[in-house]
């Protein structure tokens, strides 16, 4: 830890989620902290909020370009749930320490006098950790939890967390149903948040929809421009860069506004293609991505993982029919891959391990 320029600023490179507790302790004494993913980084720190102390962390956020995002310590603490039943819980999370989701998970554990452990991509080891340490609560992406479930053995069947908090990606209804069936006694919370704006929506529904009241509680003024959600922050409209759908008093996040393919001049939401693909029985997970094409500029390609014991060819036939009935022709997948969906940065889904899906 070292001091740079600013007299009350410390740089910290947390090795795991529990290490962020050091940052919280410093923030409590009035010192601002910037979390860095790598040691010896020399970040350009210019815009620490005047309402110090504040916590800085890296975010690809609404722009897609990694940058340091600052949140006032007092604001961060308001997003914590202070319920007595959370006291001294041990949490486990797949989120990386320098991300907003990682900070949120660690802060929840710290504020309740508990502990937090970091999960990684070794699923067998994760299960051993969860079961042997009797973890009370888990915070991760839907993709991570689904991969974890696929590695569940009978030896781990008795482990039932009290709380699972999901975020970082839209929850698809079929996946939500699978989670409820696997953990019938667990309370689920689904969070839609951004590093810049904090928590926007929170629900216990497992069908991918959020109650609009949840948004209005935090952001009374909001609007949808070209399917993209924007909120009024007090002095300006802030675009979330997320595509949403409204249905009476419910709102659903479809996917990122920049996750589009441009097929012969027509824009296609890749997250929508993947969501529809996962409706097909036999499809465990799906990921749509754009690929360059010499005729149409780009095409939609679809990678999917069949359910265990099912043949990819048979599932693909069902997929093709399902998608052709529901999508316009530009959005039809034109190239297919059958194989695993990997964990990309911060355990979101990707078609290459550790790398973000390119659009």
């Amino acid at each position: 830890m070292k001091s740079v320029g600013h007299s009350s600023l410390r740089l910290l490179t947390p090795a795991d989620l529990r290490s962020i507790f050091d940052a919280f302790a410093l923030l409590e004494t009035g010192v601002s902290v910037c979390l860095l993913p790598f040691k010896n980084q020399k970040p350009e720190i210019e815009d620490i909020p005047l309402s110090s102390p504040a916590l800085g962390f890296y975010s690809s956020g609404t722009t897609g370009t990694p940058k340091i995002c600052w949140r006032a310590w007092a604001d961060l603490k308001t997003e914590i749930r202070n319920a007595p039943e959370y006291a001294k819980w041990t949490w486990a999370s797949s989120f990386v320490p320098c991300s907003f989701a990682g900070v949120q998970a660690a802060l929840q554990a710290w504020a309740a006098g508990g502990d937090i452990l970091s999960l990684d991509s070794a699923m067998e080891e994760n299960w051993n950790l969860l079961a042997s340490r009797l973890i009370h609560a888990v915070s991760c992406t839907p993709t991570f939890l689904d991969l974890l479930l696929q590695h569940r053995s009978s030896a781990h069947a008795s482990w039932n967390p009290r709380q699972i908090t999901l975020g970082g990606e839209p929850l698809r209804p079929v996946t939500g149903g699978r989670f409820q069936k696997a953990f019938p006694q667990t309370r689920f919370t689904i969070i839609y948040a951004s590093a810049e704006l904090g928590v926007l929506l929170k629900t216990h529904r497992m069908d991918g929809w959020f109650e609009l009241a949840s948004l209005e509680k935090r952001f009374p003024k909001w609007r949808i421009d070209h399917d993209e959600l924007a909120v009024w922050t007090g002095n300006s409209w802030q675009a979330t860069r997320d595509l949403v759908e409204l249905n009476n008093d419910l709102l659903r996040v479809i996917g990122r506004a920049d996750a589009v393919a441009n097929v012969a001049g027509s824009k296609v939401s890749l997250d929508e293609v993947a969501r529809l693909a996962e409706q097909v029985p036999g499809v465990r997970r799906a990921l749509a991505f754009a690929e360059s094409n010499s005729v149409s500029g780009q095409i939609v390609a679809l990678r999917f993982t069949p359910e265990d014991g099912l043949g990819g060819r048979e599932v693909r036939e069902r997929l093709e029919i399902h998608l052709r009935e529901r999508l316009r022709k530009e959005a039809w997948p034109r190239r297919w891959e059958i194989g695993p969906i990997h964990l990309g940065p911060n355990t979101k889904r990707s078609h290459e391990p550790g790398k973000p899906t390119t659009h």
């Binding site: 094409n293 095409i299 022709k329």
Partner: protein, 78 residues
């Protein structure tokens, strides 16, 4: 599989998916001849398969292909 057969198979697959009933394809037909029941997006799909199989796009050739025979010729030269 020779490039001619590969292309024939790809065209026939999409032709039948679009309701066509041809048994064989005349490779001298223009790429989007009405009898083939293909549109430009189907052509993009065929080119994606060609690019995956051969690692090149016939549309990157100095003279863009006009007929299916032109495409087979480019692939044959590889």
């Amino acid at each position: 599989m020779p490039s001619g057969e590969f292309i024939q198979e790809l065209i026939l697959g999409l032709h039948r998916r679009n309701g066509g009933e041809l048994k064989t394809i005349d490779l001298d037909l223009p790429l989007l001849h009405p009898s083939l029941h293909l549109d430009s997006l189907d052509l993009a799909e065929i080119m994606a398969a060609v690019e995956q199989q051969y690692g090149l796009s016939p549309f990157d050739a100095p003279v863009p292909p006009r007929t299916w025979r032109d495409i087979v010729t480019v692939l044959h030269q590889k």
